[in-house]
Structure formats: structure tokens, C-alpha cells
């Protein structure tokens, strides 16, 4: 069966939805020529310049234009090339788009998607490598999606475009080259449903986007040590499938949360807080997080690896829990 890369999955989802709904329009920097990550390749040729718009370097205007077009009834998909650049249009995202429906008493609707690359691991440095899902999770009113496989990238982006709410889709740039089998026909994966990637009764490993693969690798290594792990892929932070996390945690009694964003205040803290409040009596061990380091991201290979989560760190953390120690691996403390 045909292979699909994560990168192609983005373009495939956009292609599918643009063909299906003529109100879906794209805008962003260099999107017409396919974009710097080639995630919009071929779309202007197929749908023409009235559907795919190249913009100036003006993130506030890009996000704002998406907001206005959504208010007017279109379904715009705006690209923010690197998620770090959300900082340059944070007012449009956090103060306008996220609040418009609520503060107008439901008079405004925001059926829009903002998508683009997120995350580190490629040596892009402090201003082009951040995982900003925690920034977004601080702001009620936007949905947050971050797929871990090409198949999900396609299906979740399609669902995000069809969703009536503003959705931020964070595409992990270290995954663009990864492959999976080409899904059939009209492909959509509903928002808000975590995926159990592997199951085991000893410990629950919770991941998102790139850290899901780390959890899976760790689970394989742990299996050799006789430790069976649940691997839960959250897929979305909002809506959060807390029920799935709680169910798994109640079964295993041990949880390792693996997040790339800084542990200082990462999404993993939100998950840990929910568990500590709602599954406390079922927990048999401390809730441990393997998080991105609390520093800007360095470029040198060994340094960036040092502050990133990894399968090895997850193994150490999980093993520690089974052995009844809070492992030193948790970078949340640094």
C-alpha cells in the first residue's frame, strides 16, 4: 500500500477539505510556492490564487485576516510558519480569536484553523524550536491539536477544518519525514479522543506528537525488562480526553507524562494536576514527568539532546517508579 509522509499528510488534508468545501481558503507566507516545509505543495496549482494567498511577513494581519474571514463565514486556514512566531500575533490568537464568540454572547463564530511547524530537535535554536502547546493551553477558547503520525496528521487536520471552533494545529517539524500507510478515501479523525497506542498493566506513558514515539520506544525497551506499559497518545490538549488518562492511570496506578514543552509550566503539569485531584486514591506511585528543559533551546547537538525528552529518559523514569523511587530523570526539576 502507498506510503504517506507526515509532510504529505498536511497537504493531503488541505487538498481533501478544499475540494470538499469551497469556503476553505489558505493564507500565509510563501504558501503559494508550497511553503518552507512543503506542506502546501501543489495547492495553488489545483485551487488557484483565489483559494491560496501569499501574504507579506505580517503575522498579526495573517491571524487577524483569518479571524475576520471566519466571522464573515469562510473557513480560513492560516499558516504560522514556525510556532515561535505565534508570539508576534498572540493578541489576535489569545485576546481576539479565543474570546470573540464568548464576549459577544455568541454573535461571532470562529471556524478557523491556524497551523504550522512546532517543536525542536533539529538544531533550529531558541527562536525556531519551541513547543508552544503550553502557551495555547493557557488560553480558554481555542482547541489544540498536535498529531503524532501521518495518518493522524491528515485526519485531525481535516477534522479541525470542519470544526466550528478556532483550532490551533501544531505540526511537529521533526515528524515531517516520518511515514505511515496511506489512509483510504475521505479521512477524518475526531478531535478529543486519545489513542491507546499500546497497552500494558504496569505503567501509563502519556505523550503528545513527537513524544508519543518516544513513549512507544520506551515501552518496547521496558517490555524487555518485564515492564508492560500503556502508551496513550493525547492527540489534542483541548478538548482533552481526560477520561482516557484517568482510566489508564486507575488501571496501572503509575504514570509517566512525557512532554516536550518546558516542564516549568507544561501541559504535562495540567495532566498531572488532574490525576492528583481525581485519581489520587488509585495512584500507587508519584506522578513523574519527563519534560523539555527549562531553558531556551540550544543549537549544539549534545546540548539540545540534553534538554529534550528521550526514550532513555522515559525508561529510567518508568523503571524508577516500578522500583519505588522518584527517578532523577525528570527534567522538570532543573
Amino acid at each position: 500500500m502507498a506510503q504517506l509522509t507526515f509532510r504529505e499528510a498536511v497537504a493531503a488534508a488541505l487538498d481533501q477539505e478544499m475540494a470538499r468545501d469551497e469556503t476553505v481558503v489558505l493564507l500565509g507566507e510563501d504558501v503559494g510556492s508550497g511553503g518552507v516545509f512543503k506542506t502546501t505543495a501543489g495547492l495553488r496549482d489545483r485551487f488557484g490564487p483565489e483559494r491560496v494567498w501569499d501574504t507579506p511577513i505580517s503575522e498579526q494581519a495573517i491571524a487577524g485576516a483569518a479571524m475576520g474571514a471566519a466571522a464573515a463565514g469562510l473557513r480560513p486556514v492560516a499558516e504560522i510558519m514556525f510556532s515561535d512566531f505565534y508570539a508576534t500575533c498572540w493578541d489576535q490568537v489569545a485576546n481576539e480569536i479565543a474570546k470573540a464568540c464568548y464576549m459577544t454572547g455568541g454573535q461571532l463564530r470562529m471556524p478557523l484553523v491556524i497551523r504550522g511547524s512546532n517543536g525542536g530537535g533539529l538544531g533550529f535554536g531558541a527562536q525556531h524550536s519551541q513547543s508552544i502547546e503550553n502557551w495555547a493551553m493557557c488560553v480558554p477558547g481555542v482547541k489544540i491539536v498536535s498529531p503524532s503520525t501521518p495518518d493522524d496528521m491528515w485526519g485531525l487536520l481535516a477534522a479541525s477544518i470542519r470544526d466550528p471552533e478556532p483550532v490551533l494545529v501544531l505540526e511537529h517539524k521533526a515528524l515531517f519525514g516520518t511515514k505511515s500507510e496511506w489512509p483510504g478515501g475521505d479521512h477524518v479523525v475526531p478531535l478529543g479522543e486519545a489513542a491507546l497506542r499500546r497497552s500494558g498493566e504496569d505503567v501509563t506513558l502519556v505523550g503528545l506528537a513527537r513524544t508519543v514515539g518516544m513513549c512507544e520506544q520506551a515501552a518496547v525497551a521496558l517490555a524487555d525488562e518485564g515492564i508492560a506499559a500503556d502508551v496513550l497518545d493525547l492527540r489534542c490538549l483541548v478538548p482533552l480526553d481526560a477520561a482516557a488518562v484517568l482510566a489508564s492511570a486507575r488501571r496501572t496506578g503509575r504514570v509517566v507524562i512525557v512532554e516536550e514543552n518546558p516542564g516549568q509550566l507544561g501541559w504535562g503539569a495540567a495532566v498531572a494536576a488532574i490525576l492528583a485531584e481525581e485519581a489520587f486514591d488509585d495512584l500507587r506511585a508519584p506522578i513523574v514527568r519527563v519534560s523539555g528543559g527549562n531553558v531556551p533551546l540550544p543549537v549544539a547537538t549534545a546540548m539540545e539532546a540534553e534538554v529534550m525528552p528521550s526514550p532513555e529518559k522515559v525508561v529510567v523514569a518508568a523503571r524508577g517508579l516500578l522500583e519505588g523511587r522518584v527517578p532523577a530523570a525528570s527534567t522538570a526539576r532543573v
Binding site: W53, T55, S58, G68, A71, T104, Q107
Partner: protein
């Protein structure tokens, strides 16, 4: 574009560019415009009183003295057109036809507020009347207005979007990005800068490196500098008409600088002590309502007695409205958990 000059309350300035104004459209009676301005004036005067009585929660920014801009521009917009304004937006919402009672219910935190009690004074919105909202982050709504115009271009629906903001707003990045994008894409949007000479407490002249906050920036976007006397509703109307028609023709955006003055403080909580009393006194003599009433009397369209009677009548209506609304129950706290999503709910997890 020809640049004649005209004398305004602020001295000689460039004349509005009205080359595009079409004669076939008959202007509505000035008297009608006067009535609309008067209702807004009396509505806000009442809000001012209610605020001082501690009945309005949160800040309230009034447009007293700036009504001619809201009414003049709204008078050339059709039902399918859009407009967006700022925290100083009561006039803009009412000028498009937002119901006074629903707006007052919002301001007084009563049930049935136009934003369900969630928005308050700074976020008055009436999509039903084409008014897509009041926004409280300076400049934050200008890109949104551009997006609405972008949608109109894509759909070729012929709608025009009007976006109002103040003089101080021309210094923020969102203004630059939004006006620039509208010009690059030739979008049907009319930017209206209400130059009331102050950014909050600071005179605009202290914080811009040019004379005119909007007009002197227009050429940076390939646009013509347009200045109009914002206290002359007829002049505003003509200028807006030209800009709206240019937009409908597909010739792109316009940036209009309307010179005016806010007769009150920046917000109802501000006494405006930083302003020279003579400056305020002089501005009062140029009150757009006073000027228009005088003109109507001179032209015989409305006698002084008639306008005095009208003022008294509208004032009485506003007093009655306030009494009625104050008798209503206050908004229900439980509603806070509704309406974040379009399904009416607000939950983020299962």
C-alpha cells in the same frame, strides 16, 4: 489625487477627496442625521449619569462630540456592509441600528444584554445590524476588519467593511500590518481614524513624528491622504461615500482621518485634567450637534423651538428607558459557563 484645503475647527487642512462622489445618490435629510446623532448623544449622556451613580460595571468610554463620524459613515453603509469599532463603540453600534435597550441592558448588567452580559461597554456588538464588534485592545480589530473585507473580495459579495479607531492607534503594529495588507490585496475596506487629538491623556502630537496620524501615513501604503472635518456630518458623509464607492468598485481601501474632539474624558472615570480648559471650551462651541442645529435653523429645516423640543423628548425617552431597564433582573451568574463554543457550552475536557 487633488489636494484642495478646507477650513475646519482645527484650522486649514486638506479637503476630503470627493472626486468619486456620485450625484445620483440623494443625501437623506440632514434633519434625519441630526436625530440619529441626538439619540446617541442623549443615550451616552444618560450612560454618563448612570456610571456616576455606580450602576455601570467596568469602564465606559463615551464618544460625546464624535457622533458625526459614526452617523456620517453609517449613513452610507448598506445592510450587507460590516463595521467594527473600539471600546469607544456605543455610537458605532447604535448608528448601525443596534437597539438602545439591549445595549443599555448590557451596560447595566441586566438580563437580555446585547452580549448576554459577557461583553459590557467595551465589547458592544450587533452582528444582526452589521456591527461586528467593539474591541478593547488598541489596533487589535483592524486586522479582523481586513479579514472581513478579504472574505468579501473572495466571495465577490459587494460588501464593504468600515473600521473605526483613534489617532493614537496609528502607532501600533497591527495598524501597519492591516492597512498594508488591505492595500496589497486591494480590499474593500474603509479605515476611519477618529482623530480626537488625544491618546488617553497624552496629546497625539507628542507621540507622532508627523503632523497627521493617519493622513501622513497613508502614502506609505500607496493610499491618498484624506482629512475631513469630523464634526461636520455632511462632510463625513460625502467623504465616506467616496471611499465606500471606491471600495465597491474594487479599487481598494481608503484611510480617512476625521478631525474631532472628545468633549468628555478618555473614559467616564477620567476628568480630563490634562487638557487646557480653553481648548475644551473652544471645542464645545464646535459641538457637531450644536453646529448642525444652528445650520438646520438657518436653513429653516428645523426651528430652534423644534430642536429644543426634540432634545427634551429624546432625553425623556432615555430617562424612561433607564428606569425600565434598571427594573429588570441582573444577569444570571450561571450563564458564565455557557457560550464559549458554538454548541453553547464551555467545557474543555471530558
Amino acid at each position: 489625487m487633488p489636494r484642495a484645503t478646507c477650513v475646519t475647527i482645527f484650522g486649514e487642512v486638506e479637503a476630503p477627496d470627493v472626486t468619486a462622489v456620485r450625484a445620483e445618490r440623494a443625501a437623506p435629510e440632514l434633519r434625519e442625521l441630526y436625530e440619529r446623532m441626538l439619540r446617541i448623544r442623549q443615550f451616552e449622556a444618560k450612560v454618563d449619569v448612570l456610571y456616576r451613580q455606580g450602576r455601570v460595571r467596568g469602564p465606559a468610554h463615551l464618544g460625546l462630540g464624535q457622533e458625526a463620524i459614526a452617523v456620517g459613515v453609517a449613513s452610507v453603509l448598506g445592510p450587507g456592509d460590516h463595521s467594527l469599532g473600539t471600546y469607544r463603540g456605543h455610537a458605532h453600534a447604535l448608528a448601525r441600528g443596534a437597539p438602545e435597550e439591549a445595549v443599555l441592558r448590557e451596560l447595566l448588567g441586566r438580563v437580555g444584554g446585547i452580549c448576554g452580559g459577557k461583553g459590557g461597554s467595551m465589547h458592544i456588538t450587533s452582528v444582526e445590524h452589521g456591527y461586528y464588534g467593539s474591541y478593547a485592545i488598541v489596533g487589535g480589530h483592524i486586522p479582523t476588519a481586513v479579514g472581513m473585507a478579504w472574505a468579501s473580495r473572495i466571495r465577490r459579495d459587494g460588501a464593504v467593511t468600515a473600521c473605526f479607531f483613534g489617532d493614537g492607534t496609528t502607532n501600533i503594529g497591527a495598524f501597519h500590518e492591516a492597512v498594508n495588507l488591505a492595500a496589497v490585496w486591494k480590499l474593500p475596506v474603509v479605515f476611519v481614524c477618529e482623530n480626537n487629538l488625544y491618546m488617553e491623556y497624552t496629546p497625539i502630537g507628542d507621540v507622532i513624528p508627523v503632523d497627521r496620524p493617519a493622513a501622513d501615513r497613508a502614502p506609505a501604503y500607496g493610499l491618498a491622504p484624506i482629512v475631513v472635518d469630523g464634526n461636520d456630518v455632511a462632510a463625513v458623509r460625502e467623504t465616506a461615500l467616496a471611499a465606500v464607492e471606491r471600495a465597491r468598485r474594487g479599487d481598494g481601501p481608503s484611510l480617512v482621518e476625521a478631525l474631532t474632539y472628545r468633549l468628555g474624558g478618555h473614559s467616564v472615570a477620567d476628568g480630563g485634567a490634562y487638557r487646557d480648559p480653553d481648548e475644551v471650551a473652544a471645542a464645545r462651541t464646535r459641538d457637531p450637534l450644536v453646529r448642525l442645529a444652528t445650520e438646520l435653523a438657518r436653513s429653516g429645516a428645523m426651528t430652534v423651538e423644534a430642536s429644543d423640543a426634540l432634545v427634551a423628548q429624546v432625553k425623556a425617552e432615555m430617562d424612561a428607558l433607564a428606569v425600565r431597564v434598571l427594573a429588570e433582573p441582573t444577569a444570571d451568574g450561571a450563564d458564565a459557563w455557557t457560550g464559549m463554543w458554538s454548541d453553547g457550552g464551555a467545557t474543555w475536557r471530558n
